[in-house]
């Protein structure tokens, strides 16, 4: 029974194949996550509470019944799906003010470097090649921790100050910590640690240069 459900991470898994849904569900459960599976990108958006307008698939509005009681800590989606691909879903999530902070992971059975870069540039945290292994899922914990801590932190300004004053700590930490620094600090850190997760760095450089309004300052983690 769900004795520890409040403390478990809740993952939304998206795949059109029943077999793949069964696999990823078990893998996630084995990694102590609560799992909801859906068979399409549009159902994923519905579950999150985003209404998809059939006439204009590019129009997104938050439906009156946002599933506020269902906190999703991560979305993991197959890339190749009919209709809305995993990439399309990723874009929609990242374009939504309400849900862009939810980490998204893409899975694919094909190793296509251009596809992988594209997904990472669009904001995917990880790209897993199928078959996904239990070991792969351990990479998810840091990304999911961010969303949990974000909800629990009450003083974003104070924490930001702490992080800014200790740049040497960020060097050792997971690269995702770099995201929470103010813009000028980010550029400095990148000069200090050029080898830190090149895909991530590339993704962030792209974001900075294209001047997209991603609210990076809000994704605070108390990683001190």
């Amino acid at each position: 029974m769900g004795v520890e459900t409040e403390s478990k991470f809740h993952v939304l898994a998206v795949d059109d194949s029943l077999f793949d849904r069964k696999m990823i569900e078990r893998l996630l459960q084995k990694s102590s996550c609560q799992v909801t599976t859906v068979d399409s990108g549009s159902k994923a958006l519905e579950f999150l509470g985003l209404r998809v307008d059939d006439n204009d698939p590019n129009a997104l509005s938050t439906s009156p019944q946002i599933h506020q009681e269902v906190e999703i800590n991560l979305i993991i989606t197959d890339y190749c799906m009919p209709g809305m691909t995993g990439y399309d879903l990723l874009k929609k999530v990242k374009e939504s003010a309400a849900f862009r902070s939810i980490p998204v992971v893409i899975m694919s059975s094909e190793n296509v470097p251009a596809r992988i870069s594209r997904c990472l540039e669009e904001g995917a945290e990880e790209f897993f090649l199928k078959p996904v292994k239990l070991a792969d899922l351990t990479k998810l914990k840091p990304h999911m921790m961010k969303t949990k801590l974000k909800k629990e932190s009450e003083k974003p300004v104070a924490i930001e100050e702490i992080v800014v004053s200790k740049p040497e700590i960020e060097k050792e930490e997971d690269s995702s910590v770099i995201e929470i620094l103010p813009l000028h600090q980010e550029l400095e850190s990148e000069q200090l640690e050029p080898m830190l997760c090149s895909n991530k760095r590339k993704a962030m450089e792209e974001v900075i240069s294209t001047d997209r309004s991603r609210p990076k300052y809000n994704d605070i983690t108390t990683s001190v």
Binding site: S17, L18, F19, D20, K22, M23, R26, L27, Q29, K30, C80, S109, E110, K130, P131, K133, L134
Partner: protein, 154 residues
């Protein structure tokens, strides 16, 4: 006289698995699959492999229908079906099925119809061999579970 049946059945199971690994029918990914089974999900391997059988047979039927059609030209569709088969076969550790699907896929990428027909036959053959082996494995496991439940009077 407790558990002799169990030991013999376990030995049979181990021997069958060892043989399948040796033949390259299964690879270490199958072991990963077994690791996902536990007391909270005691039938996971059986359930997921049955889903694999259902989905694979649908895909194989579709592939045959596509290729039997004289007007056939949709090699891209063949590729999509094969991607799914390659992926799911890899996920359960069905190494030989996966490999012959990859070979079939190469023929489809070259729009080689005779190559595709041959590829399909090989895949069907390997798939059915795997299915028979899995059924044998499941039967042995079922018997072992039953044997473990038998208590002989002292």
């Amino acid at each position: 006289m407790l558990g002799l049946g169990v030991d013999r059945l376990q030995a049979d199971i181990n021997r069958l698995l060892a043989s399948l690994f040796h033949q390259g029918v299964l690879d270490e990914q199958f072991l990963q699959l077994q690791q996902l089974q536990d007391e909270t999900s005691p039938n996971f391997v059986y359930d997921v492999i049955n889903i694999y059988f259902d989905e694979s047979e649908k895909l194989l039927r579709n592939l045959r229908l596509l290729l039997m059609d004289r007007e056939f030209s949709d090699y891209k569709k063949i590729g999509l079906h094969l991607n799914q088969l390659v992926g799911s076969s890899s996920s359960i550790g069905a190494r030989r099925v996966r490999n012959v699907c990859v070979a079939f896929r190469s023929a489809s990428e070259l729009s080689n119809r005779p190559g595709c027909l041959r590829g399909l036959e090989v895949v069907e053959h390997e798939y059915h061999y795997l299915k028979n082996m899995m059924h044998e494995l499941f039967q042995l496991e079922q018997q072992r579970i039953l044997a473990a439940g038998v208590r002989y009077p002292m």
